[in-house]
Structures are given as C-alpha cells and as structure tokens.
C-alpha cells in the first residue's frame, strides 16, 4: 500500500533521514521504532508532505506522492496525528472533528448554510468511537492531555483514511490511558479495516499491537520484519533493545 | 552645444547625489527599524514618532545654544540620546512585559506608543513649524562638476556610510552585538547560555530608537520640523526594510538607495507622481523577491 524507497532529508547538512525504506501492506499495523533522533517523526513528516524530501521516492497505492503538498496527500487517503497535540484549540471538540469531516466531503467552501446541518451524525460517530462523545461542547484547548491525544486521533479519523499514521499516540499518557489507547488502535484496525503506521517508545505497546516493525537508526532503516524476527535480530539488540 | 549638454548632465548627476543623500537619512532610520525587527521581530510603528521627536529635540538643543555652531553638533549627539532615553522608559515600563505575547499585540503596542508620542509632541512643542540651522561650514553649496550641490547633502553622503560601517563593526565585532545577532536567530539558545534575553531585547529596541532619533536630528536642517513628519517616514522605512530583507542592515542600505534614486528619477520625468515611483519599485522588487533582496536574518 505504502512504499518508501531510500528517502533522504537534510537540514543544513545534518542528515535527519538518510536512506530510510519502509513498506506497509493493506490491513497491517506497522510500528517504527528507534532511539531519540533516529528520524522517526521526520520520516512521517516526509510521508505526509509537511517536509519535502531531498531524495528518494514515496508511493501510495501505486501512485507517486513524493512531492505532493500535505492537503493533496491527505485526499489520497493518508491521515495522521501529531506528536505534540496539534488541534484547533479555540474550537469545540465537536467542531474539531467536524472540520475534518467537512474536508473529507469537500464542503469547506460552503458559506451559506449553517454547519450544524452538515455531517452531525458522522462527527458524533467518530467522537463516540474514540470515547469523547460526552465532551462535544468543550473547548479543545481546555481538555486534559489524554483527551487531547484522543481528539488528535479523532480529527485524523474524520478524513476516513485508508492509512492512519500515528506519531507516538501514547506519549505522556498514564498507564490506564495508554491501555485504552492501545485498545482503541486495535479496535480501529479491526472494525474499520484501517491500515496503521505508528511510532512509539513503549516497547510493550509496540510488540503488543504491531504485525511488523521497522527499526530506524541515525536516519537509516536497520531492518523491517515481524516482531519475533526483530526480537531475535542481533543488530537490533545491540543497537536498540540492549543485551539483556 | 556640447557645453550645454555637459551642464545638463552634471545637473542631473547632482540631482541624483541629492537623492542619494536623502537616502542616507532613510538608511539611518530604516537600519534602526531593521535592527529591532531582526532581534525582536516587531515592526516598530512608533519609529516615525521617535524620528520626529529626534528632530524636535535637535531644534530645542540648537535653540538653547543660540547661534553657536556647537549647538548643532551637540544636538546630533544629544537628540538621539534623549530619544533613546524615551524609548528605554517605554520599553522597561511597559513593552518588556509583552515579549511572551503574540506579535500582533507587540505591534499594536508600538502603534499605541505612536499615538501617544504624537500627541505628546503636540503638547510640548505645539503645532508650529520649526527649523534647525546647520552650522556655517555646512551652509551654502559647493560647485561640483560645474553645478552647485548643497554642502549639507554632501555631509549626509559622508555620514551615511560612516554609520553603516559603525553598525556593521558593532554587530559583528562587539560582544553585545554578537549576542543580539544570536538572539535574533535563536532565542532559546541565548537564554540557555545564561544571558538575560529581556535585556538584549531592551538594548536592541533602544539602539534602534537611537538611530531613529539620529535620523530625525540629521534631517532637521533640511526640512521644516513639524507634526506629521512621522507619518511619511515610517511607511517609507517599512517599505525599505521589506525590500531589503527583514533585519538585514545592508538590505536597509540597498532599499534606501533604491528608494532615494527612484524618487529622484521620478522627480525628473514625472514630478506629479514622484512619490509613486519608489512604491512601484518596491512592488516590483517584492513581486520578484517576496522576501526581500538580501537574506533576512529569520
């Protein structure tokens, strides 16, 4: 579904991503792991178009999306969440999700009808699926940290993506919140048939949910494979998991 | 016939020299604006008012000294210092509490400052026209290439580059200058190495305002000092800084020259629309290079 080939990104000579490769098949949950500064977030930003690569190629459903602007990439069916909660902090929770649904249905330029007539059901369904249904009238900026992370995912779901990219979905969450979020991710993959690509520091989470894992180090892809394969790989153990 | 042509050409040449000397004043003012933009990232709308106050201070100082030529030279020094003092008070009392706020608020604050300073000038000096007399050595004209050019404009032509070089040396060779430049690029880093960023900002703001005051003092002998002289200069300085590249001192110089030269050119070919020419030049530059001619510091 998604194929990243030898992608490069330099910042003032610093090679943040230096030849990363990644493949994601339809219906998979793929995790990207690697130490801090390995280039995971940069890789995601390259895939979704926030950054323009200096080399390499990204294809999605056999289509070259390497140099498309973010909004076009999104329309192809890739939605994402951000590491730092990246929401519309002055709007209500409901509107946050609705904007995304409106965008998916290309109704953003409608100036004549009240937006309360648009996709209320769809929006509510998404908020229910992430467990924010009772907070619909709260201002997003006033939510708790955990709820903001959930809203992040809800906004991404509004786009009805085929591929959902999550950048550290459980960062800063309490153990209970983490558990709920993992359940959510699994449920999304099962019920909506979503393909999910995520990166994560918590190794328990990674090995719990993912079908395949890609390991990054210093901007390169070390290996991509099934969790058992990764666990056994001596290079990964040395570089990242540590010899236990 | 040939002699006539030579006279005409030298008249045109001197006309442009006068234009460039006016550009030197624009440079002094816009370099100050650019410095503040570079470090604080705030377009200081009150800059024109400080320029006007500089001119009024210069008037007051020369008046105190009567006809003594010393008065003018002292005014060139004291007027900018007084303007710097005014800006220091405004900065420490009010402005410095806003650094964490949105840019729009900082800009609106400088607008408020402009409104207040404008009326304060009216309160202190009244709405009359004032004039500043240049000392004897700078009065009259010199004949250059067989046509006359005012000595004061030649003086300005000399002063502009001196100030440019002084500013360059200051921001590249002195410690405080380097810190200010570093703060423009990366605030967090500067505060991380234990420098009080608020004071760096304060310093940059005051220095910028000092230059505005200096511009006002320099321009005073060539114009009638009066209310409203702030409005035109600020928009000109804004445009100059924009085409030069925000925060770039040499950009301010390039922008001022473009401004001064196109204006003199306009006066020659279409006097009625002379003020339109520099604006047109600005628009053309910005359409080609929306971020200015030279690299912005941020």
């Amino acid at each position: 579904m998604l194929v990243v080939e030898n992608i490069q990104k330099h910042f003032d000579g610093f090679k943040a991503v230096n030849g990363a490769c990644l493949s994601v098949e339809t219906g998979e949950i793929v995790a990207v792991i690697g130490p801090n500064g390995a280039g995971k977030t940069t890789l995601f930003n390259l895939i979704t178009g926030q950054l323009k690569p200096d080399g390499g190629k990204i294809t999605f459903s056999d289509e070259d999306i390497t140099f498309l602007p973010p909004h076009r990439i999104c329309k192809k069916g890739i939605a994402r969440s951000f590491q730092i909660a990246n929401i519309f902090h002055r709007l209500t929770v409901f509107r946050n999700v609705q904007v995304s649904v409106l965008s998916q249905k290309t109704r953003n330029l409608n100036v004549f009808f009240p937006s309360d007539r648009f996709f209320v059901e769809e929006t509510r369904a998404i908020m229910e699926s992430v467990g924010l249904a009772d907070k619909d009238r709260e201002i997003a900026g006033a939510l708790s940290h955990g709820d903001r992370r959930l809203l992040e995912i809800a906004v991404a779901l509004g786009n009805e993506p085929r591929l959902l990219i999550l950048d550290e979905p459980t960062a800063g969450m309490s153990p209970e919140e983490t558990a709920t979020t993992i359940q959510l991710i699994k449920r999304l993959a099962d019920t909506r048939g979503l393909t999910i690509l995520f990166c994560e520091h918590d190794m328990d989470v990674v090995f719990d949910v993912s079908h395949r894992i890609m390991v990054m180090e210093q901007g390169r892809t070390l290996i991509q494979g099934a969790p058992e394969e990764i666990k056994k790989n001596p290079e990964v153990q040395r570089a990242y998991l540590g010899n236990e | 016939m040939e002699a006539d042509q030579a006279v005409f050409l030298s008249a045109v040449g001197n006309h442009f020299l006068v234009g460039i000397s006016r550009a030197m004043i624009l440079f002094v003012v816009s370099a100050g604006l650019s410095f503040i933009l570079g470090v604080l990232r705030v377009p200081n709308v009150a800059h024109g008012s400080l320029y006007m106050i500089g001119a009024f201070f210069a008037h007051s100082v020369t008046t105190v000294f009567g006809g003594n030529p010393l008065g003018f030279w002292l005014a060139l020094l004291l007027a900018p210092l007084m303007v710097a003092a005014v800006s220091l008070v405004a900065e420490r009392a009010l402005f410095c509490h806003l650094y964490e706020r949105e840019h729009l608020m900082l800009l609106l604050f400088t607008f408020a400052l402009m409104l207040i300073l404008g009326d304060l000038v009216k309160l202190v000096w009244g709405a009359d026209y004032r004039s500043v007399t240049a000392p004897k050595i700078l009065q009259g004209s010199l004949t250059l290439f067989s046509s006359p050019i005012p000595k004061y404009n030649l003086f300005l032509l000399a002063v502009g580059p001196v100030i440019a070089v002084a500013l360059y040396l200051f921001s590249n060779k002195t410690r405080i200058g380097k810190i200010a430049r570093a703060a423009a690029l990366d605030r967090e880093m500067v505060s991380a190495i234990g420098i009080n960023v608020s004071w760096v900002f304060s310093f940059a703001f005051v220095l910028g305002c000092f230059l505005a005051g200096l511009g006002g003092a320099l321009v005073a002998p060539t114009v009638s000092v009066t209310l409203g002289m702030d409005h035109d200069i600020i928009i000109e300085a804004f445009l100059i800084v924009t085409i030069g590249g925000l925060g770039n001192m040499w950009g301010a110089m390039a922008g001022s020259l473009i401004f001064g030269i196109t204006q003199s050119f306009g006066v020659l070919i279409l006097p009625q629309f002379a003020i339109v020419f520099p604006y047109l030049a600005v628009v053309i530059v910005l359409l080609l290079k929306p971020k200015g001619l030279l690299k912005s510091v941020w």
Binding site: H71, A79 | V283
Partner: protein, 314 residues
Amino acid sequence: MPVASRKRILPVFNVLLLGLLTVIPSILPLFYIYIFSVIFVTAILAMSLNMVVGHGGLYQFHHGVFYGIGAYTLALMLTKTELPIWAGFLAGPFCAAFAGLIIGLFCIRLNRLYFAMLQISLGSLVWAVTFRWYKFTGGDDGIHGISLPDALLGIHRAYYVILAVMAVCLILMYRIYKSPFGITLRAIRDNPERCAAIGINVRMHQLFAIVLATFFAGVAGVLFVVVERSVFPDLMFWVLSLEIMIMCLLGGWFTFAGPILGAAIMVSLRTFAGVYTEYWTLILGVLLILLIFFLPEGVMGYLMKKIQPRKADS
C-alpha cells in the same frame, strides 16, 4: 447561563435592537442620527476586517485600502460617468473584492509578518497613486459634494438605507461565520499546519476569506460616501487600517459581534472626546495600552468568558 435559553434570547434581543434603531431618527437630534450612521458604516468595516484577522488569523494590515477603493469607485462613477447609481453601488464592493483578490494573490504566498509588510507596500502604492492623481481622484483634496439621488438625500433617508444594508451584511456575515467555511477558517487560524494535514487547501481558503472580507469593506466604503458625500485619500492611509484593528481588539477578536461594539465605542469616544480635548489620539493610545494589558480578548470576549466559561459558541 444555559445555551438553550441564550439561543432563545438572542433573536428577541436582535429584533428589539433593530426596532429601537428604527425609531431613533424620530426621537434624537440630527447630529446623533449622523453619529449612528457613522457607527453603522464603521461597524461593517470592522466586522469585515475581523473576518480575516480575528477569525482567519491573517495579518491583514492594510484593510483601509479596500474601504477606500469601494468609496472611490462609487464617488468616481457618480462624478465622472452617467451610469445609474445602483451600478456604482454594485461596482464599489466588487472592485474592492477584485483588488482584494489581486493583492491577496501576491500576499498569500507569504506568512504572517511578510504577508503584512507586502500588503502594506501594495496598499501604500494604491494610496500614493490616489494621493497624487489630481486629475482623476482629486489627489489629496479628494472629491467633495458628491450629488446623490433623492432617495439618499437627507440624513434621515441615508440612515435608513445604511441601517438596512448593515442588517443585511450582518446576517450574511453571521451565516458565513456559522457556515462550514467559517469553521474551516477558524480552524486554519488555530492551526494551519494541521489543516493542511486534514486535506484543506489553506492558501485557497485564506484567499477566499480575503475576497469576502474586502467585498464587505467595499460595502462599507460605498456607505461612507452616502453618509459623508465625499472621499479623500486618508481612507486608504495605513493609520486608518490600524485603527480598524483596534476596534476589533477592543470589541473582541474571537467573538462574532465584538467589532460592532468596538466600532461603536471608538466612534462615540472620538466624537465626544473631540468636544473636550484636541488630544484624542493620546486618549486612544492610552486606551489601547490598557486593552493590551488588561483586556486582550476585548470587551465582548471578556463578557463571553464571564457568561459561559470553557464553553464556546463555535
């Protein structure tokens, strides 16, 4: 206060207010009718600016230019051509919107401060041309004593026309505010990067907002001619543009009706302070500083927070 009851009170309040405003000309002296007309015109202008600044998050620093273009278009059509007046009334807003589109196209490529600076430059060019083109625009004198058709003569008739136009404009702006576009615009203000990531073409939407806002600024410009029967280049001077911005700040950036309040306060303050002192701008400056420090969300924003903390109407 519960949201439901607010929803019921608001229309009643609006109708009452409109009723009050329609009877005003028969009870107040002429001068006040004039002041009210000025407030209405200024309110449309401030509302139009707030559409892009408060709701769109754009640094629209030279909004006055579009106001001026609207006013000059009508004034020039009335004095230089034989076209019917309604043509001028239509042309004003459309010319302003067209200018908004052109200037917007250039500015929209840039972000924040660069956007602002480029707009000030382009706007100042328009101002400089208007200021100097004596033969066409009247130069710095402007155009005075523009003759209007009978239906608009006399401040009473003008008042009702302006009131009606303002009501229509406010209804339209409210619809835009509540529409999917309005919400999208506020989302872009809060987080343009995220908007791009959910598939919104940020620049296109911002440009559309500028066109809409400049259209309404043009409407305000046309109405200015109806009230004052004159135009002058100060309408396009950058100081006016910043003053409109203060109105938005004063009323409340993030509210819908705030700028109306801001315009009303500013116009009345200027009128009545002007009677007692010639230092009106000093007062304005002090007021602005107080606002920045103590009421950054404006009068309306402050009240809204008091009434319904943490819940918002968006």
